[in-house]
Symmetry: C2
Subunit: 196 residues, 2 copies
């Protein structure tokens, strides 16, 4: 069983962790609640005592993913305290490293591809979380003293987003291999144009 994660912890935590893992690997519609609870070493009733529906579980998984991704920023600040430019380069390296982690792209982007109903609860939190990520990157660029911070942040956003979907379609040997080169080149180029 490759979808283990059956350590002894509270059932809710096991369900959440297992669901995150299985949604990531197999997609949301590719995993049933029965499969999740079985892999989590519990049962369907317990799931529905902690989550009112599969949709709510999906939303909680996305939030948990975002929280984990958010802690990345704290790690950058801890590693390069105050040096925003170094943190930006750390972000580039980290993003590139994640590209080769597995063949699956961004969980939020994948969820948005699968959950097409315009009023699906997950769509709202996806938008909200993606916008938070964007504003975080904008702030980092601005604090790094880059003039057109929004434009650089948006460009980097599109690049990494594109790299992740590219990995999912053609694999790790495609255009995504050039991501670091592109990103570093952009940062240099943007630092060249008048700051502040």
């Amino acid at each position: 069983m490759t979808d283990g994660v059956v350590e002894r912890s509270r059932p809710r935590d096991r369900i959440l962790e297992t669901a995150r893992d299985m949604f990531h690997k197999h997609g949301i519609k590719g995993v049933g609640v029965d499969a999740i609870t079985e892999a989590a070493g519990t049962n369907k009733m317990t799931l529905y005592r902690h989550f009112e529906s599969k949709d709510e579980l999906i939303v909680e998984c996305l939030r948990a993913n975002a929280a984990k991704a958010g802690s990345m920023w704290d790690a950058f600040e801890a590693e390069f305290p105050g040096d925003k430019l170094a943190q930006l380069h750390a972000w580039v390296r980290k993003a590139a490293a994640m590209l080769n982690a597995d063949g699956r792209g961004c969980d939020m982007a994948n969820a948005a591809a699968e959950l097409t109903e315009p009023d699906h609860p997950a769509r709202l939190v996806i938008k909200e979380l993606k916008e938070a990520q964007r504003s975080r990157l904008v702030t980092l660029c601005r604090d790094a003293g880059i003039g057109q911070a929004e434009l650089l942040a948006d460009t980097l956003s599109l690049l990494i987003e594109g790299a992740r979907v590219s990995v999912q379609t053609v694999g790790t040997e495609g255009p995504s291999t050039q991501f670091v080169r592109m990103a570093e080149g952009l940062i240099v180029s943007f630092r060249g144009t008048a700051a502040g």
Copy 2:
């Protein structure tokens, strides 16, 4: 019924066209074969007389999409015969225009997000079609006299790919609004660096 396309043509064509439209709008796993045949004004038996399985129908839809996208290149050549640089700029404009067409991203990327089984027949054709698109863009860049044609083509690929998924997650008002500016800037920048 928003998913019409029930003009009088041969059932196979109607099924293919309807399936393309519905897969695009609602995702692959979000549409059953019954719904497709009903919207196509036919029935399930007829579908299975023309396609041996839903998976084969999916593959045919992806191929049809790619063929349609491929005809785009011919249109560029027709509009700007021999002027490869103008064709490249036409590609940028066309790609940007498609961003605002609807909130759904690239069908192939979405399919790759949904069909997670590593040996799913669709995964192979997605990779093959994406690689064909990439080599086409590389050729266009090279023929336009750009030095680092591969790098520019890959960068543009990641940007448009990222823009399409961005539209799907945060909508048309997000980072994707800057796509044309980014792409045009890149082309200018790459033309600056030594050509052939």
